[in-house]
């Protein structure tokens, strides 16, 4: 058996997330088992101890989120994984992670909701919740995987974004990707780009824990390194102490928004297929992007100049890529396994330039290429 053959693995999406997390340097996982995300916790419970990492099964998802915030503040890259019901419980602490700028990764393998919903069925119903589930204006990044390889590479990317911008990153998967096995060739450790959070370069006495650098991101000292700092969910000044002074509150919020907007070129990821001469196009993400790719090829064979824009970053919504395509094409179709959570974003940036059609499935079934094809032929 050659070396090349040895590096191929047959993995489920959930297992690839585990490999991605380990490759990115994740050494702490706290979580509570839930269908269809449980394989992530199961595998990490085996693999984290091997690399001197920590795995804790918590009493619930509220505590899980709290635990990964604590681990990250102590300087360890941390992650949790859940599905809709658990993600709902995490929202309060997720807001804390946003306001205290604690890097962490939250995987949500989406299933049918609301509430207990359809535990074993695929869905994409948590898209807007991933963006707006916790209250108040807050910075957050939401990524979406569509293949097993994506599940690996985007988990690494999620950690990198979290560390670079000190922001929680939500990685959305779904039951289809999570449980599909595909062969992947995982890159060697040296080939993987891993980003670590910026540490303070000043002596402890000079450290202002919430003063942003040129990008608006404050260097982050780990607890126990001698840099004394205060962490709070209250809006705070540069020193981390609560403030209600309008000027300080305003500049806090502006910096939080700015650190993400300045990172748009790095954070906003999409993949285009057959778009150059497209007259109609599909915007899709997650497992549905795979059905869409096939239907776009089928439509091309039937004389329709169709294209596909696959969204990898859902939020911040990649309008700089979407808007020119809305100007180029006469119609866009947005197929989703929800009632229309990304199509409303598309409509928001459209300015009436393009006909926006939706195709929604909420019956717990995966959207087939045929369904999208039939819509494409009528656009």
């Amino acid at each position: 058996m050659s070396d090349q053959v040895k590096q191929r693995f047959l993995l489920q999406g959930n297992e690839a997330i585990v490999q991605g997390a380990l490759a990115a340097g994740c050494r702490f996982f706290a979580g509570y088992p839930i269908t269809p995300a449980s394989e992530i916790a199961e595998q990490l419970s085996i693999q984290l101890p091997v690399v001197d990492g920590t795995f804790i099964q918590m009493e619930d998802e509220i505590a899980s989120m709290g635990a990964i915030i604590g681990a990250s503040l102590a300087g360890v890259k941390a992650m949790t994984a859940t599905s809709g019901p658990g993600f709902a419980l995490m929202q309060e602490n997720l807001g804390f992670a946003c306001v205290a700028e604690v890097p962490c990764v939250i995987v949500n393998v989406m299933r049918g909701g609301p509430s207990t919903g359809l535990p074993t069925c695929p869905a994409q119903g948590d898209v807007q919740m991933a963006r707006w589930g916790t209250h108040g204006d807050h910075p957050i990044v939401v990524l979406s995987v569509s293949t097993v390889m994506d599940s690996f590479t985007l988990t690494v990317k999620a950690f990198n974004i979290a560390e670079k911008y000190r922001v929680p990153v939500i990685l959305l998967s779904d039951e289809v990707v999570a449980h599909t096995r595909e062969c992947v060739e995982l890159p060697d450790t040296e080939e993987i780009k891993v980003v670590d959070r910026m540490k303070p370069s000043v002596p402890p006495d000079w450290y202002k824990p919430y003063e942003g650098d040129a990008r608006g991101v404050p260097p982050m000292a780990a607890f126990g390194e001698g840099y004394r700092h205060h962490v709070t969910g209250l809006i705070h000044d540069d020193m981390g102490y609560p403030t209600q002074k309008p000027a300080e509150v305003k500049s806090f919020h502006e910096r939080m928004a700015r650190k993400i907007t300045r990172g748009f070129p790095d954070i906003q990821m999409t993949k285009g297929y057959y778009l150059d001469d497209a007259e109609v196009f599909v915007i899709a993400y997650g497992a549905v992007a795979r059905s869409a790719l096939r239907s776009v090829q089928d439509a091309r064979e039937n004389g329709v100049k169709a294209g596909l824009l696959q969204l990898i970053t859902l939020f911040p919504f990649p309008r700089r890529t979407v808007t020119p395509l809305l100007q180029q094409c006469r119609a866009v179709l947005v197929p989703e396994m929800n009632m229309g959570q990304i199509s409303r974003e598309v409509q928001r940036v459209n300015n009436g330039e393009c006909v926006v059609k939706k195709h929604n499935r909420i019956d717990g079934k995966f959207i087939t290429p045929r369904e999208i094809f039939d819509h494409l032929m009528k656009l």
């Binding site: 053959v5 191929r8 693995f9 047959l10 269908t35 269809p36 535990p119 074993t120 069925c121 039951e175 289809v176 449980h179 599909t180 096995r181 595909e182 062969c183 497992a287 795979r290 059905s291 790719l293 096939r294 090829q297 089928d298 064979e301 995966f366 087939t368 290429p369």
Partner: protein, 200 residues
Amino acid sequence: MTAEQKNQERYEIRFSGSGGQGLITAAVVFAEAVGVYDGKQVCQTQSYGPEARGGKSKAEVVISDNPIDYPKALELDLLLAMNQAACDAYFYDLKQNGILVVDSGLVEQHPTSRIIAIPFTEIAKEEIGRGLVANMVALGAVGLLCGQVDLENLEKALLARVPKGTEEMNSKALKRGIEEAAKINLNDLPRSIMSDDDEV
């Protein structure tokens, strides 16, 4: 390229029967042989949750030389049915020239005469001594009939997946399946699953 040609780039197999017959295991071993050892592109999916425990459970493998977009089966090239319910439910997903393989002891009503019926469970019980390995007898037959996998790699993948101490039994089961399937000449079968008269 027409849609039909594009579908021919894919080879799709469904392993079906009832929960507990080990069909997902068979599909995973198959996918590992084709993907990891043969180096082709492969997507393997399965019934999940309550449906995996009912009267019919299924696991699918899509094989291609090119990257696979839609990960589930669209039109089956080969259907393995290990019980009547699965045969009845999934027969209509077969291509016209697809191959239907059934356990002859468990599927009595045949929807077409383009069918390969082998007593997988009986072979497993009588010759291997464990009914449990009927899935591996079937896997051997499917492996040979589909022509999509290197049979040595199939055995390697099998031995890497099964529990220690059961290698010999599983490997024997696989080989018996291959032997049974080797007795069959696909050219002797009607060319279409739809009607036996159509082929003239």
